[in-house]
């Protein structure tokens, strides 16, 4: 036995090399029934977004049992946090989930601000809301294209990226990068939006609304897509509660829960927008909720751009790179594109934070895939996987 005996308490791990396949497929096949096929979906598989591997036990085309295998993209952001300064960990936040970088920026920066009691100036709050909502729209667009690509339509992802290019150009003007944005600072934001930034946004909103009509005509009302999504992959409210699934999955199960309204942070309470909720509990419900959210985010950005005051974009004596988080503990939740992003910072007042726990919504959302995909067809299991809007770097951290 390897000398790390305490790592193998129940003797679950057999000696490597005494079985076919690798450790996880062997561990998974122990409970396999007769006449079933163990299939590896991924990690190199066109429809797992990034490097997700799902072990699937097939009986013919029906998925009897499945188990996602994670860790192929584990970079250990939480361990890096214990070796970097609080300020130095901010760029990591853009890399944890590159589709919704601003959401993660907000969660970490606000968690440290909440602990240190730093107030953010008005203009910065508006810039935060604008960039977060634009980032949410771009994340939903990538999900929308990739999800319909999973179902076999090759063109819509190009139209979605067509719009997302405009969003990346807009966000690049303030954050400097298009994907892994490092925009937030403790006490405000990194750069102020200039006249061209706001003009581009004002031009983008009506154009996007026109495009949403086109998306509805091309995909949402398409009968093949409706048949592929309606009534498949049912996840009701109780299942979401048992697994801790949040975001569009929870809202598609009929629970009106959005962190922006449940735990009001920033200045979200100044804008009027609804939370799209559908109690369909199936793939189409999740699809509909996300497409509606794009519309609601457009409304928020519209109002924010109209009401933004003049002023500083960062507080005067903003913390410098060598800033230390005061001792204490803080949990802060943000409504990311995929669900509730929470950052739990424990600090001993030293140069680096003592422990940073990143709660990724995808991690809990993926956990309920095994139960939702039981007994469905392989094609439906792939559709359910796509409807969870998974971003693997966020799950593996």
């Amino acid at each position: 036995m390897s000398n790390f005996s305490f790592l193998n308490p129940f003797g679950v791990l057999d000696e490597p090399g005494t079985y076919m396949g690798d450790f996880y497929s062997h561990n998974f096949s122990k409970k396999a029934k007769e006449g079933t096929v163990i299939l590896n979906l991924g990690p190199q598989h066109p429809s797992t977004h990034g490097v997700l591997r799902v072990l699937v036990e097939l009986y013919g085309e029906y998925v009897m049992r499945s188990e996602p295998v994670l860790g192929y993209l584990h970079r250990s952001h939480e361990k890096m946090a214990e070796h970097k300064t609080a300020y130095g960990f901010l760029p990591n936040m853009g890399r944890v989930d590159y589709l919704n970088a601003i959401g993660w920026n907000w969660a970490y920066a606000a968690s440290c601000e909440q602990l240190a009691g730093i107030q953010v100036p008005e203009r910065a709050e508006y810039l935060r809301v604008i960039s977060a909502e634009l980032n949410r729209i771009s994340s939903h667009l990538v999900w929308w294209g990739a999800f319909v690509l999973d179902l076999g339509a090759f063109t819509p992802i190009l139209y979605a990226f067509d719009d997302r290019e405009d969003l990346c150009d807009i966000l690049q003007r303030v954050t400097g990068s298009r994907l892994t944005m490092n925009y937030f600072r403790f006490g405000g934001v990194g750069a102020d939006g200039d006249e061209r930034f706001f003009r581009l946004i004002r031009e983008f909103i009506p154009r996007m609304r026109e495009r949403l009509k086109m998306y509805r005509a091309l995909v949402t009302d398409n009968v093949i897509l409706r048949r592929r999504l309606e009534g498949i992959g049912s996840m009701d409210a109780d299942m979401c509660l048992r697994y801790g699934a949040t975001g569009p999955i929870l809202r598609a199960a009929g629970v009106r829960r959005d962190v922006r309204k449940a735990i009001p942070y920033g200045i979200y309470d100044r804008f009027d927008y609804e939370i799209p909720v559908a109690d369909r509990c199936d793939n189409f419900g999740r699809y509909w909720v996300r497409v509606e959210e794009i519309e609601q985010s457009l409304r928020i950005v519209e109002q924010a751009v109209a009401q933004i005051p003049e002023g500083k974009h960062i507080v005067d004596k903003a913390p410098k790179p060598a800033w230390k988080i005061p001792a204490g503990e803080s949990v802060f939740s943000v409504e990311g594109a995929r669900g509730e992003i929470s950052v739990h910072v424990i600090s001993d007042g030293g140069k680096s934070p003592y422990r940073v726990k990143l709660r990724a919504p995808g991690f809990s959302n993926l956990a309920l895939f095994a139960e939702a995909a039981e007994g469905t067809l392989l094609a439906d299991a792939i559709a359910t996987l796509g409807s969870l809007d998974l971003v693997i770097p966020e799950i593996d951290r």
């Binding site: 000398n3 561990n27 994670l70 250990s76 214990e82 070796h83 009691g117 697994y243 939740s333 139960e371």
Partner: protein
């Protein structure tokens, strides 16, 4: 059942060691209850009945032991609460698993098992989730002997509303800690001494980690392998 006071009494019945009220403005937690390992599952079932969902499990390494924090929140109205379990015995840390109450807990527990080696008895599939399963490495997130902090010194748990005698995480006596939030003076010399001390202990431990068996045995508890943590300090 949705006010912190109601939940405080509920946890008291479930056999809590202590119930502390961290300052919500700074910590975002309305209530945190310290449970002995035995009564954790009972409290979780009570929370599930009250419509709470388990958001995540944070495990942190302190001198007193592993502090496993379960953070709950209700989906209907917001009340974020934490259940904390202190695991003192670091050689074989045992905590009962919540996988049968909240299926979502299974993955969070496997992650803590990966990073800290905390064994969750009753978890249906306790194999590494984020780290490679076939060549297990000693838990990477455990703190080295010189950087580890003490919960009682940090005092981030907030003042205890109600504490039974069995609870030993009460904040340390004030004279070694001038103010609750301020960084205790005792910490400074340790931090000052840290840069020089660590490189020597770091290098041999990291270098010898995989091959030498006895070496790994000795530092298994506190080893901080190099590959996970980047060489720190200028």
């Amino acid at each position: 059942m949705s006010t912190p006071e109601a939940w405080r009494d509920a946890f008291k019945e479930a056999g809590a060691l202590a119930v502390t009220r961290p300052d919500p403005a700074k910590s975002g937690l309305a209530l945190s209850a310290h449970m002995p390992a035995g009564s954790l599952v009972a409290a979780a079932e009570k929370l599930k009945a009250g419509g709470f969902s388990l958001l995540f499990i944070t495990t942190a390494d302190f001198t007193e032991g592993f502090l496993v924090t379960y953070v709950f929140d209700s989906f209907t109205e917001h009340l974020r609460m934490a259940l904390r379990v202190l695991v003192k015995d670091k050689s074989c840390p045992e905590v009962p698993s919540l996988a049968h109450v909240y299926q979502g807990a299974e993955w969070h527990e496997r992650e803590s098992y990966d990073f800290y080696g905390v064994i969750f008895t009753g978890n249906p599939n306790l194999v590494p989730i984020l780290l490679p399963g076939d060549d297990p490495i000693p838990p990477p997130h455990r703190k080295g002997p010189d950087v580890i902090a003490s919960i009682r010194k940090l005092g981030f748990l907030g003042e205890a509303e109600w504490a039974s005698d069995g609870w030993e995480l009460a904040p340390a006596p004030p004279e070694t800690k001038p103010a609750a939030g301020a960084k205790p003076a005792a910490e400074k010399p340790a931090a000052g001494a840290k840069p020089e001390a660590k490189p020597e202990t770091e290098k041999p431990a990291a270098g010898a980690k995989p091959e030498a068996k006895p070496e790994a045995e000795k530092t298994a508890a506190g080893a901080k392998p190099a590959e996970a943590g980047k060489e720190e300090g200028k």
